[in-house]
C-alpha cells in the first residue's frame, strides 16, 4: 500500500522538521535512497517549482513528492500527513500552554536544534551539488567546470544585499536561460 507508506513517511517528516519548510529537505533527500518515488535530480526540479509557485514551500514540496509517488491521491495523502502532527501539537499548545516560546526548556531545545537543522539542510545541498556539478558518464565521472563556475558566480552574487532581496523566481528563470544558452 503506497498510500500507507506515504502517510507514514510524511507524518514523520511533519513531526521532525522543525524551523520551516526547508527543514523538510534532508528528509525528502533521505526518501530518494529508500523509495523510487523520485530521484535526487528530480528533487532539485521539485525545489525550483515549489519556490516559484504560490504557497508555502514545505507544502509545495510535499505535494510534489506525493504526486511523483502516486499521482493526485498521493499528493493529497502526503500533504495531509505532513500537516497532521502540527495540527495536533499546535492545538495542544493553544489549549494548555501559555508562553510556550518563552519556556526555558523549549529555548534550550532550540538552542541545540537550530545549528543542527542548518547542518542537515547543508547535507541535502551537498547531495544536490554532487548531481548538479558532476557529469556521470557510463565509465568516467568528471567535474562539470562550467557548472561549478555558474554555481560559484550565483552564490557570490547572492551575497550582494540588493540581489539577495530578489524573488527566487527571478533567479530560477535566470538559471533556465543560462542552462539553455550554455547547453548544460
Amino acid at each position: 500500500m503506497i498510500y500507507l507508506t506515504l502517510a507514514f513517511e510524511f507524518f514523520k517528516i511533519g513531526l521532525f522538521s522543525i524551523g520551516g519548510g526547508m527543514a523538510t529537505l534532508p528528509f525528502l533527500m533521505d526518501l530518494t535512497a529508500k523509495y523510487d518515488w523520485y530521484t535526487a535530480s528530480e528533487l532539485a526540479n521539485m525545489i525550483a517549482i515549489s519556490e516559484s509557485t504560490p504557497g508555502p514551500v514545505g507544502i509545495n514540496m510535499a505535494t510534489y513528492a506525493g504526486y511523483n509517488a502516486a499521482g493526485i491521491p498521493g499528493a493529497v495523502v502526503a500533504t495531509l500527513s505532513l500537516t497532521a502532527p502540527a495540527l495536533i501539537i499546535i492545538i495542544v499548545i493553544a489549549k494548555f500552554l501559555e508562553n510556550f516560546s518563552e519556556n526555558p526548556t523549549v529555548k534550550a531545545v532550540f538552542y541545540g536544534i537550530r545549528p543542527t537543522v542548518a547542518a542537515l539542510i547543508g547535507y541535502a545541498v551537498w547531495e544536490l551539488l554532487k548531481i548538479a556539478l558532476v557529469i556521470t558518464g557510463s565509465e568516467t565521472t568528471q567535474i562539470a567546470y562550467t557548472s561549478v563556475f555558474i554555481f560559484l558566480g550565483a552564490f557570490l552574487l547572492l551575497q550582494v544585499k540588493r540581489l539577495k532581496k530578489l524573488h527566487p523566481l527571478v533567479w530560477i528563470i535566470a538559471g533556465a536561460v543560462i542552462g539553455i544558452l550554455f547547453k548544460i
Binding site: A108, Y111, G112, A119, I150
Partner: protein
C-alpha cells in the same frame, strides 16, 4: 450553524493566504496581517507575532502552524482543521497542475538544459539559506560543534535524520543545565 459559517470563512481566508504568497514562512506575514487582522479582525498584530514565534519552535510548516492556531482560536478543533485545509489547498491544486504539465515537456532538449541550469541555481539558493541559518543558529562554540557534527553524521553515516535532530535537542537542554548551574 454559526460554527459552520465561521469554518467556511476560515477556509476561504486561508485559501487566499496560501494561494497569494510565494515562499511561505515570513513571506506570508503581510498577507496574513491584511486578511486576519485588518479584514476579519480575528486577532491583533501582537497575537500574529506571538503565533509566529510559536510556529518557529514547533514541528511543521510555519504557515500551517499559524493557520491551525488562528482557526482553533476562532472555532475550536474544526476551525483549526478548516484553516489548515484552506492554506494547503492552493498548493495541492497548483503543484498537481504544474507537475502534470511538466511531464509532457520533460523530454525536450531545451527543457532538459533549462532544468540543468535551474538545478545549479537551486544549489546556490539553498547554500545561501544554509549560510543564513547557520549565522543565526550558531551563537557559540557548542553551536559550531553541533553544526559540524550534524553535517558529518548526515553525510557519512546512516544515522536517521530524525535521530540527529532529537539528539541535538537533548544536547541543547543538557548544555543549558550545566551552563545554568555554573552561573548561579
Amino acid at each position: 450553524m454559526m460554527n459552520l459559517q465561521k469554518c467556511g470563512e476560515l477556509y476561504i481566508s486561508f485559501f487566499k493566504i496560501g494561494g497569494l504568497t510565494f515562499g511561505g514562512g515570513l513571506a506570508m506575514l503581510p498577507m496574513l496581517q491584511r486578511e486576519v487582522v485588518t479584514e476579519r479582525g480575528w486577532c491583533t498584530e501582537e497575537e500574529i507575532l506571538d503565533m509566529y514565534a510559536i510556529g518557529q519552535c514547533t514541528p511543521g510548516i510555519i504557515a500551517v502552524n499559524t493557520a491551525t492556531y488562528v482557526g482553533y482560536r476562532q472555532a475550536g478543533f474544526i476551525g483549526g482543521v478548516s484553516a489548515t485545509l484552506g492554506v494547503v489547498s492552493p498548493s495541492v491544486i497548483i503543484i498537481c497542475l504544474v507537475a502534470s504539465i511538466l511531464q509532457n515537456f520533460i523530454h525536450l532538449p531545451a527543457v532538459l538544459h533549462a532544468l540543468a541550469g535551474i538545478r545549479i541555481i537551486v544549489c546556490a539558493l539553498m547554500m545561501n539559506t544554509v549560510v543564513t541559518m547557520a549565522k543565526k543558529g550558531i551563537i557559540d562554540k557548542l553551536g559550531a560543534v553541533l553544526f559540524a557534527g550534524g553535517f558529518i553524521l548526515a553525510c557519512f553515516t546512516p544515522i536517521p535524520t530524525a535521530l540527529i535532530i532529537v539528539a541535538a535537542g537533548i544536547i541543547g537542554v543538557i548544555a543549558k543545565r550545566i551552563g545554568g548551574k555554573k552561573t548561579s
